[in-house]
Amino acid sequence: MLSARDVSHAYGSLRALDRITFTLDRGQTLAIFGPNGAGKTTLLKVLAGLIQPRHGTVQLAGGRRAIGWIGHQSQLYGPLTVVENLLFWASLYDVPPSARRARADELIGRLGLGGQAHQQARTLSRGQAQRAAIARALIHDPAVLLLDEPFTGLDRVAAEELRRLLGELAAAGRATVLVTHNVEEGTELASDIAFMRAGHFVAFGPRAGRDAAALAAAYREAVGGG
């Protein structure tokens, strides 16, 4: 469904990505852990097609239409309401007009935004905004989810809800790439793990039932201090 082959990229002389290779199938969730500056966001942007890598190829079944991106910025328009935002993004993704309203309502319900549906996006709380951002990312039913530090700024309850939702989505067959510097947050969801440092994978493999503590130890060992 999603594969990267020998992807390398540089900013000027600064090597950002170094021969990244992996494949991701339906239902798999790849959690990439790495310190700041490791190149995680760059990798996600390359996977999304926002950046053309210097070398290597990315193959994504369905193209940009198949991607849902959730970052720490909501990508919502402040003066528009939640519903208006969702309808706009749905139209950009060519969701059929007859289906747009229904999907928007469904997602609003599923993410507990019923009371905020007709509120302007700039009036939402951080947690509500994040949920609205998730709705926006899912409005076109993407097959692949790319998540860039999605738990940033979420309280425990909201984070737990997000984890539950992501689990459901994976179970329904979506492929997910989750990028974070916090091992505890991503462990439960992952079917596969990668540790990233200075642009390349220092470790890559199935989670194999390890828990957060074990992974944290392995992470520290692989990536080193800082």
């Binding site: 919502l76 402040g78 950009l92």
Partner: protein
């Protein structure tokens, strides 16, 4: 092609909704236009120069400055919550995005210019009504190419420091040809000359528009990709 136009229209429509909601940019531009006209009126000595000699310059300087004010609006809203990344991720071409922004910009500039023209007629007592049709044609032709370059530049400066100051600095040389041409044609129109006398200027304007709309469309992707 149909998709291209449809997506462009979706982007433009969203911009129009946004501006209608907040109304900040267009209000400032309208107030500014009125103020500039008032300053011009009080800054001249009515006994020294006949208004008909000054009128075209006043009109077009006002249009130019007001036009530049509305340009900043185009990409500011996209930065707020990184909506621009969302637009770049969506399965629409960069050209659709650019044309959508351009159409929205032109709509706003049109509103400001029409209002400016009405105020101008009110303040300066120049017989505009006899030549309103060719005048509108000149207004469109002198504005389109310039706003295309302005939209392109606003995509760049929005991420620099001093964005509001940078845009006029970069844009002013591009103002010169359409400004001169428009002022010349307007002078002839107010003097009751037929349009055929200014065909050279009109052809210059047309060439300018074609050249810069094309160039801006071609160059826009370079300003947003990484």
């Amino acid at each position: 092609m149909a998709d291209l136009l449809r997506h462009a229209w979706l982007v433009a429509r969203k911009d129009l909704y946004l501006e209608f909601r907040s109304r900040t940019a267009i209000t400032s531009a309208l107030v500014f236009t009125a103020l500039v006209l008032v300053v011009f009126e009080h800054g001249r000595d009515p006994t020294a120069v006949a208004i008909s000699a000054l009128a075209p310059s006043i009109l077009w300087v006002t249009f130019s400055f007001a036009g530049m004010l509305t340009l900043n609006r185009a990409f500011n809203a996209e930065l707020e919550n990184q909506a621009l990344d969302g637009l770049l991720l969506a399965p629409i071409s960069r050209t659709s995005l650019f044309w959508g922004k351009l159409v929205a910009n032109l709509a706003f500039v049109a509103v400001v210019q029409v209002t400016g023209l009405l105020l101008f007629t009110l303040f300066f007592n120049v017989p505009v009504w006899r030549v309103w049709a060719p005048l509108v044609v000149v207004m469109i032709m002198a504005t389109v190419g310039f706003i295309a370059v302005g939209t392109l530049f606003s995509a760049m400066v929005v991420r620099t420091r001093f964005a509001e100051l940078m845009l006029p600095v970069l844009l002013l040389p591009f103002l010169l040809p359409p400004l001169i041409a428009a002022a010349e044609v307007t002078t002839k129109l107010f003097a009751g000359r037929p349009l055929s006398e200014v065909s050279g200027w009109l052809r210059l304007l047309a060439a300018y528009d074609v050249a810069f709309i094309t160039l801006a469309t071609l160059l826009f992707p370079a300003t947003v990709t990484e």
